[in-house]
């Protein structure tokens, strides 16, 4: 059975993919807020990233620690091949659904 992407999962996965090597909690949250124009809770971002990791769509690894973060490391997220496949599949579905509606006489 195919693992489906829920609406917010797709947005988080897209944001993670678009951030490339710079994807971690803060940047994903900020990207989502910038693109959607609405507030996104950090807890919601992490909950979805954890779920996407369980589905095998992202993997995480420790990143750098900065003074700004009180010396704490970042948890960097990377979209995996299955994650990219799922995103492309969702994109195809969206494209088909977004075909112009035929005009009625």
């Amino acid at each position: 059975m195919k693992k489906r992407l829920a609406g917010f999962e797709e947005l988080v996965l897209l944001a993670t993919a678009s951030l490339g090597e710079e994807a971690y909690g803060v940047t994903v949250q900020q990207r989502l807020e910038a693109e959607t124009g609405s507030a996104v809770a950090l807890g919601a971002v992490y909950a979805v990233l954890d779920r996407l990791q369980r589905k095998g769509y992202v993997r995480s690894a420790w990143g750098e620690a900065t003074p700004q973060r009180g010396g704490r490391r970042k948890r960097m997220f990377h979209v995996t091949a299955p994650g990219l496949t799922a995103l492309r599949a969702m994109g195809r579905i969206r494209s088909r659904l977004a075909q112009p509606i035929p005009k009625h006489a």
């Binding site: 950090l42 807890g43 620690a65 490391r73």
Partner: protein
């Protein structure tokens, strides 16, 4: 709030989350900070277990698992049977061998109840335990 987060959050994820909060807010505390901490707390997998543990503690301390507030004790000793109806630690009614004891014969001071004339004409002393239940010295039987 961060203490709660530390208690709830999986230790292997805590470093990154605390780092993100420091990066976003520094030492400033705002409603956005509160929202993010709360959102992180409620979505942690350990929340369910820890919330359940906290709920049990609260129930034990203040909830219905505490001492009963209204109960009836049926007891017997060599002198016969008796019953006490107790509400919030106060004896509100009693029977001796099934016969109701007049209210005027019930005297309670603290957790000590006296049933006047309840021990072959002498006073009958009963201790009402704060945690529920009673304690008394058995009365002697009556030779008939």
């Amino acid at each position: 709030m961060t203490r709660v987060l530390r208690w709830i959050c999986d230790p292997d994820k805590l470093e990154a989350i605390e780092g993100d909060l420091a990066e976003l807010y520094g030492n400033a505390r705002s409603w956005r900070y509160a929202r993010d901490v709360v959102s992180l707390c409620v979505r942690q997998p350990r929340t369910a277990i820890r919330s359940l543990a906290a709920a049990v503690v609260v129930l034990v301390l203040v909830g219905p698992i505490g001492p009963p507030t209204h109960y009836t004790v049926h007891a017997a000793d060599p002198a016969g049977e008796f019953a006490l109806e107790i509400h919030d630690g106060q004896a509100i009614a009693a029977t001796l061998d099934g016969a109701p004891v007049p209210e005027r014969d019930l005297r309670q001071t603290g957790d000590t109840l006296i049933i006047r004339g309840g021990d072959h004409g002498a006073d009958f002393y009963i201790a009402i335990k704060p945690e529920g239940g009673i304690k008394w010295y058995p009365r002697h039987s009556v030779l008939r």
